[in-house]
Amino acid sequence: MTEKLLTLSPVDLVIIGLYFVMVLGIGFYLKRFTKTGEDFFLAGRDMTSWIAGLSFVAANLGSLELMGWAASAYQYGILATHWYWIGAIPAMLFLGIVMMPFYYISRTHSVPGYLKLRFGEPARALSAITFGFMTVLMSGINMYSMALVLKIVLGWDIHFSIWISSLTVAVYVFLGGLLSAIFNEVLQFFLIWLGAIIVSVLGLIEAGGWSGMVHRIHTNFPGQDYTHLWAGLGSFTSNPMGIHWTGIVLGLGFVISFGYWTTDFLVVQRVLSAKDLRSAKMAPIIGSAFKMAVPFIVILPGLLGLAVLPEHLVGESQAATMPGAHTYNEVLPLMLARYCGPGLLGLGITALIAGFMSGMAGNVSAFATVWTYDIYRALIRPRASDNHYVSMGRWCTILGVLISIGTAYVVMQFLSIMDYVQALFSIFIAPLFGTVILGMLWKRATPAAGFWGLLAGTLSSLAMFLWVHFDPSALRYIALSSHAQNMAENMYRALWSWIICVLVTVAVSAVTKPKPISELKDLVYGATVIPSEGAVSLVHRPIFWAGVVFVVFVVLNIIFW
């Protein structure tokens, strides 16, 4: 790409400018309310279920989410929806109903903090360090993708975009900590929806509704199935992703999904800010309902791109040899350019910027917490005042942004943004899920087993990644098929590393001494009394709403089978 897709009008610039004024204004306003560590790192544990729930989803809605998954939808078709439905909903409901009580009752401030309570310092140190590493990498990827959008769409200098947007996030998180991040995430959630859904609405009108869109896709891409969720997953070769349904169900739906949504501190931190246990349980359930709807603003534009765009988009490597060709990653900007005139374009660009900022603020606030509490306080300076840790958290926010900016320049070398993200998830998150879930549900898991299981799972995942990287023929062993695409490889690598983590944890537990039951109180199922919800009506019980969401989830999968 050498020329920009469109030019902003003055009204678009005013809309974008107003957004920056608002997010900074919120940061300055909230500074007076963030005095203690509890305020800065956990928003005072005072959030309602709605605010925690919307923030929970928005922190996951980075610009990667918007641009990357629209690109994946163009490349793989409706299969990309699996990352929103089976790859999210069951895990979010499980977090709310089963896991949240342990996180919340233990009064931990982070996921590594929970591992400290359950397994001891080594497991906490390992997970905190790997999480910190992953977080700044993710933040850098997010930042790069945003800058890429602004370069493609508006011709803005990539360095200008990175620095202005990042420093804005740094300022408002520095001032108001998690409280500011959460408030802005709720605002950004609205902007993302209101800015992005217009593309889907107008796209469906142009394509002639859902059936018109499917007909056009079949005409444009004969012989390929882009519009069925499950029907093409019976073999590795009958779908664009080169994946079997076992990889989707076990690798994505079980390991990666549960790993991300239940142990990635970026999202869990939002729920820990809830004002009481019921709100903490409801927040992921509310979040799951909105998450289930996100494909209508992310996947649908990619599918509509297959139907209405006059040209065929290509991969990054192909585009390098085809001057003037557009890539998969450009599908959402192309759709915005297709439908949005002055004003709406500014709103659409603001949605992308808001997505970037919510994702980045999530990474930065989580990084600041884990660094301050789980690395700095645990390993470097254990007995400082609360004010000192708040100050460290504020400056760590700036440091995290600066490291992320450095990372953004490094990740510019990677060809497929989303595949890289999935590789990261499977390397770090899948084994962590094995350790946390055994820690919560199995009293016999020992402190030594927690550490060695996590280490073995992480190293084995890294080894598998490097094996296939240097010897692509190894794919037939890792992903069970030489036809598997990158995403399929990630699914299976996650599954194997989780299994290795669990097996090592069980084996080491068998030969080492467990903690006494009295030390597992409020940490493990069977040793914890979950507070009663009292005599409340059915519609006020989290389990009821989890059931409603699950039924809708099943129905949607059947409709789009």
């Binding site: 009204v11 005013v14 809309i15 107003l18 957004y19 608002m22 204004g25 919120i26 306003y29 309310f33 005072g44 005072d46 959030m47 309602t48 605010i51 408030f183 709720v186 605002l187 609205f190 902007l191 209101l194 217009i198 107008l202 009108i205 142009e206 004002k275 350019a337 297709r338 439908y339 949005c340 005139g341 002055p342 004003g343 709406l344 709103l347």
Partner: protein, 71 residues
Amino acid sequence: MHGPGFVSIWFFIGALLTAYGLLITATGLYELGTPPANAPVLSNLHASLWWGLVLLIIGLIYFIKFFPKKQ
């Protein structure tokens, strides 16, 4: 949440959406009389006008309902 005098997030959302609604609706009205030179696909539907009104209505509801009250 955070005691008396604390301005709700919903107020900030209402204020921003109201401003956006006004700007986009005004742009839509202007384009009725002066169509843009490079009109987007489906510009005959005047999406700016009706979507701007949607934003304005949502924004005003939140802005008025959560307007900070004097203590």
